[in-house]
């Protein structure tokens, strides 16, 4: 019984950590594979905002995850140089992989 309690306590404690945990290498690989770095950079200015800019924009906003999830999976229309373009999606259907990449971007 005591063991069961301890396990439950451990699981509860581990939850927030699990939500934030990210596999940086996997995120970077997916981002690279999806061609994100063609328009974005981690910290430098390119056609699109840097990941640091995005992280700063969404800092403290509860809907950050959801907003980015939509942005990276539904090909929304964006403006580049005054022209309308379709934003590319991450090249995976795996939700965990997408969330991992989002956590990576938001923690830059």
């Amino acid at each position: 019984m005591r063991a069961a309690w301890m396990l439950t306590a451990l699981a509860v404690l581990a939850l927030p950590v699990a939500a934030q945990a990210q596999d940086v290498a996997a995120a970077e690989a997916l981002i690279k594979k999806s061609g994100c770095m063609k328009c974005h950079s981690v910290s430098a200015k390119k056609e699109g905002p840097s990941f640091k800019e995005t992280a700063a924009k969404y800092k403290g906003k509860p809907d950050a995850q959801g907003a980015l999830f939509k942005h990276l999976t539904t090909n929304p229309k964006i403006k580049v140089d005054g022209n309308e373009e379709m934003h590319d999606s991450l090249k995976t259907k795996n939700e965990a992989e997408i969330k991992n990449a989002i956590a990576y971007i938001l923690s830059r």
Partner: protein, 197 residues
């Protein structure tokens, strides 16, 4: 002309013409050897083996370069260190080699001899190279990549639009194509660099 009379005294049986021809031929031979040795030496400092002869390059930037498109690709054409980092034009080449000799000082004094030290100086080194590539219109990229030879219809729609704009405005390649062979340093990129011409 002390040396000339000295020479004539040493070889009194030689005619003036023979001696003169000997001096000219000798000078030419020495010049030839020096030029060949110089060209050979310069070419040697452009090889991959030379560049990764020091661990600062081998363990950092070279390790990052391995596996990138300029190292390994379907056609097997490679761009090694010197292709991107050493100008091909004679004067610019010598100027860059002279600057590089100061970098040897950095190697001897251990300026970037640990991962941490390298990381600390990465941004400043990247900015130096970005500045050079911005000032010369990314000449080293354009030694192989020519706007005129590109087939826009084989590019994605986005790439086509960006390249057309870059060509029209004379944007250097490095403004967008940075951090492609080495890890991107933390900080503002080439587009944010203010370059005084």
């Amino acid at each position: 002309m002390g040396w000339w009379s000295n020479l004539r005294q040493r070889c009194q049986t030689c005619s003036r013409v023979t001696l003169g021809a000997g001096v000219i031929l000798g000078t030419l031979a020495i010049a030839f050897v020096m030029l060949t040795a110089g060209a050979y030496g310069l070419a040697w400092t452009n090889t991959e083996e030379f560049c990764i002869g020091c661990h600062e390059m081998r363990d950092n930037v070279y390790a990052e370069f391995k596996g990138t498109i300029h190292d390994k690709n379907r056609s097997g054409v490679r761009a090694i260190c010197a292709n991107c980092h050493v100008p091909h034009e004679p004067v610019a080449l010598i100027v860059r080699k002279m600057q590089a000799s100061f970098e040897v000082w950095g190697h001897l004094t251990g300026k970037i001899d640990t991962k941490e030290k390298f990381a600390k100086h990465r941004y400043e080194m990247a900015v130096k190279e970005w500045t050079r590539m911005k000032k010369n219109g990314s000449q080293e990229c354009r030694n192989c990549h020519h706007f005129e030879a590109m087939e826009p219809e084989k590019q994605t729609e986005k790439a086509r639009a960006r390249h057309a704009k870059a060509q029209a405005q004379g944007t250097p390649c490095i403004d967008c194509h940075f951090g492609i062979a080495h890890n991107e340093p933390d900080g503002p990129g080439p587009q944010e660099l203010k370059i005084a011409n």
